[in-house]
């Protein structure tokens, strides 16, 4: 129940923040911080063994018939994620109180932030794949609203949309994939699916879609580009969503599936590991060329996410263990870096490394935090990042097939990481020479010193980065718990160590650091390679192009299907009649035997008049003539009814015909005198074909339908019951006023309303339309 309580609290806080935002000002951020705080309390209580065994598992029913229920189970892997989500969430919310100037819509911001935190907690604690998707989409939507928080900037709005569409498309793939997999496994339970581990074609397609969805969320190549774009968000959002938590949702899913699916689905490990490897290299490469500090960090995040995917995607216990370690290490150092860069940006008014100089002296605390975090990222002993990197190299060296390739990728990636870490430290903190900065450089003395509370959160995280390096036990407990939850109890023996001795991993770590220094110190080589890689199309351009293409294509399609021509719309309806039921009738053509064409010459004559008037109505150009000829058709039909011996029917027909004629004439007041000429050449022939076709269809269908009747009609019943039950000899009257009086009531209503409509049209003066024109 404790898990449910924490989740519900997040929802309530989101509501409260939305409602009281204006009143509380910046304190609303402290209000919502109670959510992550509660989660932290829960985690601490659990770590101290204060909670009962049932505290972390609850099931709440939602739509059980379609497998939607909140099966909440917080296992070791979930706990690792909860620590990241709640711990960093708490720090970020405190940080945000200093980051923002007072503004009206902070309530909305706080509301979205705590809603996001709740969604992430739900995502990592549910055993139901459909609920996982629910949480997944909630993070996408809150991310959209948070990226676009500075909504007066067009760039922020565009980035928000880009992130939403890319991760939304990924969410779509994930949903399709999860449904296929769940369908094959016969359960929507995540553990259930992993136990069954289905491998039929539908499930394999499902897994492919799951990988696709996870890759978009975790910014893997080639859909990584939304993440650098998302840097338009306020820095607390970048630190929290786009480095520490949301982007790891994809990794969460891959890590859950990999140990069970990797061994049984042949393509899984090569594809996922390959994806991670390519992303690690490309992200690192792009980070080397960024001049915006947040963009640099974003590409660094892309690279590190690729690194983690490479580790957890394989499914091997040792690799998973290293992946979980890196997950924790990355969250600690990358959140610190974002928070520190946010402080610099906030105080200096820019985060362009060509305009910054001498920052270290203006804010030594932040500078130290940034330095330590960057060192951890680069893998400098004795920080926690070093431990993670050692664990990674240790495990890739042990993997049989593909191990050397993975090791090589990790080493090259680490070289790039060390290089951009140096670039980051130099770019943000160093006192630079005049030739290393732009003309509009921000003078250090113009940079105000940050308030202590503003720098605090980064310091807390930095302390953890150092502490976990030298005192590895708490981190080890967390990581071992996560690994055993993923791969089973056999992983309990894999432990973290600061010092692995002088071995190949240490050598490779050192190579990476030295290599990174070389790459950073001699950027000429970077520039030369950049000339080559610039020819590769940028995925962001591809995205923009396809969005433009989609809009243009939508315009064209809509212009074709929606030309605004009433005659065409009618023709489409009738053509559909000919195409669907028409073809069905043709395929089952059976006319009744003994067909009588006409009973008298009078019938033939009247029919000829009706047909003539109908053809005339279709041919004349004046609207009024057409309406009159239509009237002739109607009156002709009335005469036909008289001849056929149905005077009451004829009378009705006459009345209706007169009424509709009157209505038509009134409408015609507001329309041009003549029909517009048809714009296309084939218009007339087509109309002839459609009208004749429809007429023939109805006639033939009537004959065929009558021929198919083997049961007689209800007429016998009416004749029999008319006198005894209706008390009348005139069957038509009894039907109209007794048996089916409801129909008559309805038809009377129709006539009254039609009359009202006419009266209104006659009485209302024609109002000018938008263009100010008044009808004739």
């Amino acid at each position: 129940m404790a898990v449910v309580a924490v989740l519900v609290l997040h929802g309530l806080l989101a509501l409260a923040a939305g409602l009281s935002g204006r009143r509380l000002g910046r304190r609303v951020l402290l209000l919502v911080a109670c959510g992550p705080l509660a989660a932290v309390v829960l985690l601490v209580a659990h770590a101290l063994g204060l909670l009962g065994s049932g505290a972390l598992a609850t099931s709440v029913s939602w739509v059980p018939s379609i497998g939607l229920q909140f099966d909440l189970v917080l296992d070791g892997f979930g706990i690792l994620f909860w620590w990241l989500i709640a711990g960093i969430g708490l720090l970020v919310m405190v940080y945000a109180t200093r980051y923002f100037a007072p503004r009206d819509d902070l309530g909305l911001f706080a509301s979205m932030l705590v809603l996001f935190a709740g969604a992430m907690l739900l995502l990592t604690s549910t055993d139901n794949v459909l609920v996982l998707f629910v949480a997944w989409e909630l993070t996408s939507i809150t991310s959209y609203l948070l990226i676009g928080f500075d909504d007066h900037r067009a760039e922020a709005r565009a980035s928000a949309l880009q992130a939403l569409l890319v991760t939304g498309a990924g969410g779509l793939a994930l949903l399709g994939g999860l449904l296929l997999v769940a369908g094959s496994a016969g359960t929507t339970s995540l553990t259930g699916i992993l136990v069954v581990a289905p491998t039929d074609p539908a499930a394999q397609a499902g897994f492919a879609l799951v990988v696709l969805g996870a890759a978009t969320k975790s910014a893997q190549v080639p859909v990584h580009f939304w993440l650098p774009g998302a840097m338009s968000a306020p820095t607390p959002v970048s630190a929290y969503l786009h480095s520490a938590t949301m982007v790891k949702a994809g990794i969460y899913v891959l890590a859950r599936f990999a140990p069970a699916i990797g061994p049984v689905v042949g393509w899984w490990a090569p594809v996922v590991v390959g994806l991670g490897g390519v992303t690690m290299l490309l992200g690192g490469w792009r980070a080397l060329r960024a001049t915006d500090l947040k963009e640099l960090l974003a590409y660094g995040t892309v690279s590190q996410l690729g690194f983690i995917v490479l580790l957890v995607g394989h499914g091997d216990p040792e690799l998973v263990h290293a992946g979980a370690t890196l997950l924790l290490a990355h969250a600690l150092f990358k959140a610190t870096l974002f928070l520190a860069v946010g402080v610099i940006d906030h105080q200096a008014g820019t985060r362009d490394l060509r305009r910054l100089t001498g920052i270290a002296r203006r804010m030594p605390t932040t500078a130290l935090a940034l330095l330590v975090a960057a060192a951890s990222m680069a893998g400098v002993i004795p920080l926690f990042g070093f431990i993670a990197k050692e664990a990674a190299l240790e495990s890739t060296l042990h993997v049989g097939f593909g191990g050397p390739a993975m090791t090589a990728v990790v080493v090259v990636g680490s070289v790039l990481t060390a290089a951009y870490a140096l670039r980051l430290v130099w770019g943000s903190l160093a006192t630079k020479g005049p030739d290393e900065v732009d003309d509009d450089v921000v003078e250090p003395r113009e940079v105000a010193r940050p308030a202590p509370g503003f720098e605090g959160p980064a310091v807390v995280l930095t302390i953890l980065t150092v502490a976990f390096g030298v005192w590895v036990a708490p981190a080890d407990a967390l990581v071992v718990g996560a690994t055993t939850a993923l791969v089973g109890p056999e992983a309990a023996d894999i432990h973290l160590r600061l010092w692995h001795g002088f071995g190949l991993p240490l050598l490779l770590s050192s190579v990476a650091l030295v290599g990174g220094w070389v790459v950073w110190r001699w950027p000429g080589s970077v520039r030369r390679v950049a000339v080559v890689t610039a020819r590769v199309p940028d995925m962001e351009d591809v995205y923009r192009g396809s969005l433009r293409g989609l809009l243009a294509w939508a315009d064209r399609i809509t212009a074709v299907v929606q030309p605004g021509s009433l005659p065409l719309y009618g023709a489409v309806v009738l053509s559909t009649v000919l195409l669907l039921p028409g073809v069905a009738v043709l395929r089952n053509l059976a006319l009744p035997e003994g067909l009588v064409v006409a009973e008298s010459g009078l019938q033939v004559a009247i029919t000829a008049i009706v047909v003539g008037a109908a053809i005339g109505a279709a041919r004349v150009r004046r609207r009024l003539s057409a309406v009159l000829l239509l009237g002739a058709v109607g009156y002709g039909m009335a005469v036909l009814f008289v001849v056929q011996g149905a005077p009451d029917l004829a009378l009705t027909q006459l009345l209706v015909e007169t009424l509709s004629l009157a209505m038509f004439v009134l409408v015609l007041r507001r329309l041009p005198e003549r029909f517009e000429s048809t714009p296309w050449r084939f218009g007339r022939p087509l109309r002839v074909v459609v009208s004749l076709g429809t007429g023939i269809f109805v006639a033939v269908f009537t004959l065929v339908a009558a021929a198919a009747n083997r049961q007689g009609t209800a007429a016998a019943d009416f004749l029999e019951r008319s006198l005894p039950e209706g008390g009348g000899r005139n069957v038509v009257n009894v039907i109209l006023t007794d048996f089916r009086a409801l129909d008559t009531l309805g038809e009377i209503t129709v006539l009254v309303v039609a009359a009202i409509g006419i009266a209104l049209m006659v009485r209302t003066p024609v109002e000018p339309d938008e263009r100010g024109e008044v009808g004739p």
Partner: protein, 496 residues
């Protein structure tokens, strides 16, 4: 109250009230308003009585005038009809509240209230009648009122676009009456239950032809591809409450008729099922593509109606229990959410004088409540969890995959993303941005009367309640689907 009283009252009460309302012409408007609100609220209560009596999956019926079903008309409510009645009544009274608060929408026009009540009677009769010809009459009652309502006010533009609506409507009615003639010729029956039995005797080919013809007839009303073209042309120009009501309700009466006739009269699916799935995929796609291309709130929303009709037809076309249950759930969700969005669009137009995206902006800052009232149903419409649209879409996708209809199910998921895209278009154009830089803004001097906001908020609340009650609601939809597929209970109740 027993259903014997409730069913006839649901039709008779609004019809009688329409007459009273007509007599009140020229008296103070408050009298007409009172009559309308009291009657529509009563309909809500009656419909809840009906839904309670069929909650367990039974069917209730009453013979009109106590005439034997062999010659008379029977009104019947099964779970599908009952839930449609409940949701429709909700739309009818909330939109009426909204219209009363609105300044620009001709609610003060002489015949608005009587026409509205006639429309209500027609809608109720459509959901209740168990007679094909009476269904035609109910449609006509509903449509003739809608013809006048859509041209109410009568600017030149409105009459021209209203003409499209009226002419295509009449064409469909002509085809409908033709279809009834053909059905009668082939079977000698118009009572739906009797037809369900008699249709089994008709040769398969002719049955398919009749099924397809009725599909086209109701397809025009429901605006499925390629019969939808009238809708995006005629809806956006009508007064906002009218558009909202039509958008939420009228096309869904067409969908209801498709579900009713196809399951009851042509239950084997077969070729009709294939036609339905193909049309569903095309309807979903063309509708959403059209929506993307628009730059006006009401026009975007109008195209979305088309797209979402496709989802309902998709569920029906599967002819499985889960598929039809999903379709029923989708219809119920859609009516509420779609109406809400049009009401929001109406408020924007009333406040800013336009619904053009490139002229608006920054409303989130000047009208935050309205922004929330838009955002929640918009996300629901796009099928974003945890909103009602997600549950409906999920149940459809699940049943689609279960029936191994990969393509149409894939389309239904992909269309969701495009729907989301077009919703962000409205959000980006109207609600985000700097209000100072927009050509027109929803500033604090241009506010709307409270009833408009309250009515909209009520509907948003209801759609949120659907999320909480999704479990029981889905189970009820499943019972509705089971009654539709098994037919026996309905036939017995009508012919007893």
């Amino acid at each position: 109250m027993s259903p014997d009283v409730a069913l006839p009252l649901l039709v008779g009460l609004p019809l009688g009230a329409a007459a009273v309302s007509l007599l009140l012409l020229g008296r103070p408007l408050v009298l007409q308003r009172t009559v309308s609100l009291v009657v529509l609220a009563t309909m809500q209560v009656l419909s809840i009585v009906v839904v309670a009596s069929v909650w367990d999956g039974s069917v209730v019926s009453v013979r009109v005038g106590a005439v034997d079903p062999a010659v008379g008309i029977v009104l019947a409510a099964d779970p599908l009809g009952a839930i449609m009645l409940v949701v429709s009544s909700l739309m009818l009274w909330t939109v009426m509240v909204y219209a009363i608060g609105s300044q620009r929408t001709k609610e003060q026009a002489p015949a608005f209230h009587p026409l509205y009540l006639v429309l209500a009677a027609g809608v109720a009769a459509s959901f209740l009648t168990a007679d094909l010809f009476n269904l035609f009459v109910a449609f006509e009652v509903m449509l003739v009122a809608s013809y006048v309502l859509i041209t109410l006010g009568g600017s030149r533009d409105q009459v021209r676009h209203g003409m499209t609506y009226v002419v295509i409507g009449l064409l469909a009615s002509t085809l409908f009456i033709t279809a009834i003639g053909l059905v009668y010729a082939a079977t000698g029956e118009v009572n739906l239950a009797a037809l369900a039995v008699a249709m089994d005797q008709v040769p398969t080919g002719i049955r398919t032809a009749l099924g397809l013809l009725l599909l086209v007839v109701f397809g025009v009303k429901a605006a499925i591809f390629p019969l939808f073209q009238w809708l995006p042309d005629s809806y956006p120009t009508a007064p906002s409450p009218v558009t909202a009501l039509f958008a939420g309700l009228l096309t869904k009466v067409g969908v209801y008729a498709i579900i009713r006739t196809q399951t009851l009269l042509f239950p084997t699916g077969g070729e009709v099922s294939i036609a339905l799935l193909v049309l569903a995929a095309l309807t979903m796609t063309v509708g959403v593509v059209g929506a993307i291309a628009q730059n006006d709130i009401k026009r975007i929303l109008s195209f979305h109606i088309v797209s979402q009709i496709g989802y309902m037809i998709f569920g029906l076309g599967l002819f499985t229990l889960a598929g039809i249950a999903g379709a029923v759930l989708y219809v119920v969700h859609h009516i509420v959410v779609k109406t809400t969005l049009f009401l929001v669009g109406g408020i924007v137009e009333e406040r800013a004088g336009t619904g053009a995206l490139d002229r608006l902006g920054g409303a989130m800052h000047t009208a935050p409540v309205l922004a929330v009232l838009f955002l929640l149903p918009a996300l629901s419409l796009a099928g974003i969890p945890p909103f009602s649209g997600f549950v409906a879409k999920l149940s459809l996708a699940q049943s689609g995959f279960a029936a191994e209809q990969w393509v149409v199910t894939g389309v239904s998921l992909a269309v969701g993303l495009l729907t989301l895209f077009s919703m962000t278009k409205i959000w980006n154009g109207v609600f985000w941005g700097d209000p100072a830089r927009a050509a027109v803004s929803l500033d604090r001097e241009h506010v709307v009367a409270a009833p408009m906001t309250v009515a909209t908020a009520i509907l948003v609340t209801v759609s949120l309640a659907f999320v909480v009650a999704a479990g029981p609601l889905y189970d009820f939809s499943e019972r509705a689907a089971s009654v539709l597929l098994e037919r026996g209970a309905y036939v017995q109740a009508v012919l007893r």
